[in-house]
Symmetry: C2
DNA sequence: CGCGCGTTTGAGCATGCTCAACATGAGTGG
DNA sequence: CCACTCATGTTGAGCATGCTCAAACGCGCG
């Protein structure tokens, strides 16, 4: 892992992300001031539970998973962050240590925003505060939704749900490409890889065809009924 | 359910809660401006998934649970809010409809803060924005922690965890009273009531004695090992 | 006293995990 | 371009956990 300054491409990705979308340019620039970039190989651990966190992390490219650990080295994914996602902000704002581990799933470029500086900006710049408030609300809702899903849905239902979440508004049939290995999807859905595989098998009879990372849905209705 | 203005006792509870703890008096007053109070019987539904939400809710007294529903009327608790807790804020700030149902578990007094007004205050008053940001961070962390627990811990482990969370810092033995029925605890922990009962049975051999709502822990170490 | 709710206990069952074997596929080097 | 290799994905069998359904229990309250 090595650290450097932002390239102009990095800046473009950052400024184009949801967080910055509704932020006036000066405020956005202020947030980026002092940010650094680091590159990580797949499997690199960005931080461990209990680490002191001094930065808010932003995925410029790649994929990062946030996970907790239990007895015997068992791991459970809490969230998976694609390009454009922000994480680590809760620990920073609460001035706490990390409550989970973070690991790069793909080779990743990560922007690190200066934590204390961001805290100050939040207190001073209403626009920044509002942007982060919205972001936290969205994160919170995602997590709550996932919690409810875990408790309500079977494996095939969760997978069906995920697939429907990937598909555009109303088309009855469509195809898309998984943005990561099935491995990772299984973790995200709280399933063992074998369970995911079997869930896909089950869904085949509802018109879901899986070829590698390509998912083809023939009958949206059937999926929704699941 | 009937609606009225805040009593001075209501104000006291609100101003003493975590949200207002670090808020200067004028800002706190501004937040409370226009708030109303409503009383609810146990089992009353405050709102359903999909309802338009115009208020941020605050539990002055009683207990409220937030839950999602699945096929066949199955329910899964997302959170349980005791006195002093705030909820509904995510839907309000994102200007969305409710993503879950809320139901009074005990007879409850609920303060309703005017949503649009609060949004405006957040944008104008840095103190208010910061207070809500912290609150959202705490909520988010709780939810994430629960998600990880669900996926990592068995029923007895979750119960042991809950018990340890209720106990003061370091005492090796202690006793406390459940703040609600076992029923509700089961929901909060994502268990069927029967599973909770059996978990308590299991924990008996680790020095946990349950008499009605009274929980007595003889050996804290044994619980942590679980 | 008896009704009703909350809790406990029991038995059977479904879901998903573990472990292991096997298949597939991508990447590497000859 | 093929062969080899390692990682990834699939399939199978057995098992553990927790859910469902049903019945008994206990306690509070009319």
């Amino acid at each position: 892992m090595k650290t450097s300054r932002l390239t102009s491409n990095d800046r473009a990705v950052l400024l184009g992300s949801r967080l910055f979308a509704n932020l006036p340019a000066p405020a956005a620039e202020a947030v980026l001031e002092g940010a650094t970039i680091s590159r990580h190989e797949a499997q690199d651990v960005l931080f461990h539970q209990g680490d002191a966190i001094e930065h808010v992390f932003f995925v410029v490219s790649g994929l990062v998973r946030l996970y907790g650990t239990g007895k015997g080295g068992r791991e459970a994914d809490i969230a998976v962050f694609p390009r454009g996602a922000l994480f680590g902000e809760k620990a920073v704002f609460l001035d706490q240590r990390a409550t989970a581990h973070a690991q790069a799933v793909h080779p990743s470029i990560i922007a690190k925003l200066d934590g204390p500086r961001l805290c100050r900006l939040v207190r001073e710049e209403a626009d920044v505060a509002w942007a982060l408030l919205e972001l936290l609300c969205r994160h919170g809702q995602m997590t709550e939704k996932r919690l409810a899903e875990d408790r309500l849905l079977t494996a095939p239902q969760r997978v069906a749900n995920y697939i429907l979440g990937q598909c555009p508004g109303d088309s009855p049939a469509f195809t898309f490409r998984l943005p990561f290995q099935k491995n990772v999807l299984a973790g995200k859905l709280g399933l063992a890889p074998e369970a995911l595989s079997r869930a896909f098998s089950t869904l085949r009879q509802s018109g879901v065809i899986v070829k590698g990372r390509l998912i083809e849905i023939r009958d949206r209705e059937a999926l929704e009924r699941f």
